[in-house]
């Protein structure tokens, strides 16, 4: 009996914590957006963050997009050839990449490279009382620390997604045209004829929404690190980082499905 | 804070009264640099100064440095109390030329 009571109240306590964390995170996001209007955003910091989130992600993104495009094309080619429709390879690869794979894979790469680092960095800043120090200096830490990262993510992700799409399509070209000898004209003209502005728009809307999700969640986990008193210090940072990465990835994928179904 | 400028021999005497802090040190800077740029020898009178913060000190350092390149004289006169303590704390008493009274500047 006692253990059932404990179990139920554990669930209750956990639910309470989760809900209060979600609430705080939304207030946190709101505060970041609010800080946009208080003074000129710190341009220097934004540039630095674009360098980190955008420019430095390019190499890993180029490699992953090329191979993703090639793998997708390989599978689609083998499927399409059975129906004698290999001339649809270009459009299939392009639409798949632009609508789904481009935004999702880019976001996943950024989660692996940036979200984890951001959560760890902000968590360590919390641990070292850097946010307390900023507060005491009357420096708005939302504006100074969070806003540049959010802005940089919002600028970088659509660009990275576009790069992923284009390089992926090039990967498909390698498989379809160079390896399997389909006509280059069919591959390229098919893409031009089939892909609509709507496809590009959906991909870009996704990348913007993902940008907010995958930078906001790790920042919130890092910023509220001190609230979980049982896991403070270095263990707290690693715990929060793991959690932030998992939650970012899952919420990104769920959001991807929601946007896809809303905008089909 | 008040800034009064009077003439004494070949010097312009810039007398600072009251408190120099973050809010008005820019004013002090403009006056001092202006005088130095006009090739005037400058005496900064501290005798009525109650308080000077580090932005005021930084301002004096800038003006003093400028006076060296313009080859004009630049002295601080009558520093006592808290301003003198600040000068000593920041070891600027070894940089500036400190005089006890305006008359000393003549000789």
């Amino acid at each position: 009996m006692q253990s059932i009571m404990n179990g139920v109240s554990n669930i209750g306590g956990y639910t309470r914590n989760v809900i209060s964390f979600i609430g705080m995170s939304f207030v946190f996001l709101l505060n970041i957006f609010k800080s946009l209007f208080s003074r000129i955003p710190p341009i220097r910091e934004i540039v630095r963050q674009i360098q980190f989130i955008g420019v430095k992600s390019l190499p890993v993104l180029l490699v992953s997009s090329l191979f993703t495009g090639m793998a997708v094309a390989l599978n689609l080619y083998n499927a399409l050839i059975r129906f004698g429709s290999a001339d649809l390879l270009g459009p299939s690869v392009a639409v798949g990449l632009i609508r789904e794979l481009g935004p999702v894979m880019t976001a996943l790469m950024i989660i692996a490279r940036v979200s984890s680092a951001t959560c760890a960095e902000i968590g360590i800043m919390r641990n070292e009382q850097q946010f307390d120090a900023l507060d005491c200096m009357a420096v708005n830490s939302y504006r100074y620390v969070m806003l540049p990262r959010l802005m940089a993510a919002l600028i970088s992700l659509p660009i990275l997604t576009a790069v992923f799409d284009m390089v992926g399509i090039a990967g498909g070209y390698i498989v379809g045209v160079v390896i399997h000898g389909e006509s280059a004209g069919t591959y390229i003209q098919g893409i031009f004829d089939t892909v609509t502005f709507n496809d590009v728009l959906i991909g870009q809307i996704k990348s913007l929404v993902f940008a907010v999700l995958i930078i906001w969640i790790p920042m919130a986990y890092g910023y509220f690190l001190h609230l979980n008193r049982k896991a403070a210090g270095a263990a707290g940072v690693s715990h929060a980082t793991t959690k932030a990465v998992v939650i970012s990835a899952i919420s990104m994928l769920v959001m991807n499905f929601i946007i896809s179904s809303l905008m089909l | 804070m008040n800034i009064d400028i009077t003439d004494f021999e070949q010097f312009k005497v810039v007398k600072l009264t009251g408190e120099v802090d973050l809010h008005n040190s820019r004013e002090v800077k403009n006056v001092l640099l202006d005088e130095v740029d006009k090739q005037h020898h400058v005496l900064v009178d501290f005798s009525e100064l109650d308080y000077i913060d580090s932005s005021g000190m930084a301002t004096l350092v800038e003006a003093f440095n400028r006076s060296k390149t313009k080859q004009v004289q630049f002295h601080i006169v009558g520093a006592v109390g808290a301003p003198l303590q600040v000068l000593k704390l920041t070891k600027l008493d070894s940089v500036f030329s400190l005089l006890d009274s305006i008359e000393q500047a003549k000789g």
């Binding site: 630095r48 960095e121 360590i124 800043m125 070292e128 009382q129 850097q130 307390d132 120090a133 900023l134 507060d135 005491c136 200096m137 009357a138 420096v139 100074y144 008193r229 | 802090d21 973050l22 040190s25 820019r26 800077k29 913060d53 580090s54 932005s55 000190m57 930084a58 301002t59 350092v61 800038e62 808290a82 303590q85 600040v86 000593k88 704390l89 920041t90 070891k91 600027l92």
Partner: protein, 262 residues
């Protein structure tokens, strides 16, 4: 003389655990007040409340005439410009150089010329014996240097109130003595009010005008260093003579703690 900081009947909790019990304190302008206590005595929590980083469960804190429990965020911002805080580990922003860290408050809160700011930053770094470290990153500095750089940043705006968390913790004796002397010099030249949180007796007795001793979240005593030394409170004497806190062991209670963990 009216006090610049006054704390009335302050209670504080972490979740369900009460960490401060009915704390009262008056600090006079220009005074060095040392808050002393062992680890877990609640002294860091008290500091957090003074800095308005944490809201009190009960009680009132007034700084410079403002009740920081009910202050508007704009007034709090103005108040914070008059307060400098040096944190235990320096709390320098790891993404900025030492120089940029020190100049941060000036760049955000004043409209001084860059050159003036440059000179101010170097003046403070010289003061803290950190000349030439301006362009290093915080990660390249030792613990003592970080502490001094944090102090440089705390006093860059020439605040009226300086709060210092554990100035001598983790420092070698010579550096720690230097830091104590620096604190005294700062007070003399700038007439700052200082709140210093420490567990180091020697430095407390050396720099303090008055000392507040905290035990388990309760004020044991407030008084001048001499009064503290001559106190007949057994716990304070233990603290001064560096005795471990031997208490009478209640055999039954001890057994219960071991077996049930309560």
């Amino acid at each position: 003389m009216t006090s610049i900081i006054s704390i009335d009947n302050l209670d504080a909790h972490y979740d369900d655990r009460q960490v401060l019990f009915d704390v009262n304190l008056q600090v006079n302008p220009g005074e060095i007040m040392v808050i002393m206590g062992g680890s877990g005595s609640g002294k860091s929590t008290l500091l957090k409340h003074l800095l308005a980083l944490k809201k009190p469960t009960q009680g009132k804190i007034q700084i410079d005439g403002h009740d920081i429990g009910s202050i508007s965020s704009k007034e709090l911002k103005e108040l914070r410009k008059k307060m400098g805080v040096a944190f235990q580990g320096g709390a320098l922003l790891s993404s900025l150089t030492v120089g940029d860290n020190v100049r941060l408050p000036l760049e955000h809160n004043t409209n001084l010329d860059t050159q003036t700011i440059d000179i101010m930053v170097r003046l403070k770094l010289e003061l803290m014996n950190l000349a030439g470290f301006e362009n290093l990153m915080p990660a390249e500095l030792s613990g003592g240097m970080l502490k001094r750089a944090g102090l440089a940043r705390a006093v860059i705006m020439d605040p009226r109130i300086l709060c210092f968390d554990e100035p001598s913790a983790g420092l070698d004796p010579v550096t720690s003595v230097e830091l104590d002397e620096l604190i005294l010099k700062l007070r003399e030249a700038m007439n700052m009010t200082m709140i210093i949180v420490t567990h180091e007796l020697e430095s407390a007795f050396k720099i303090a005008d008055r000392i507040m001793v905290l035990f388990d979240g309760k004020v044991a005593m407030v008084g001048t260093p001499d009064e503290i030394r001559n106190s007949d409170d057994k716990r304070i004497q233990n603290l001064i003579n560096r005795k471990s806190r031997d208490e009478e062991v209640d055999g039954d209670a001890y057994l219960k703690r071991l077996v049930t963990g309560d």
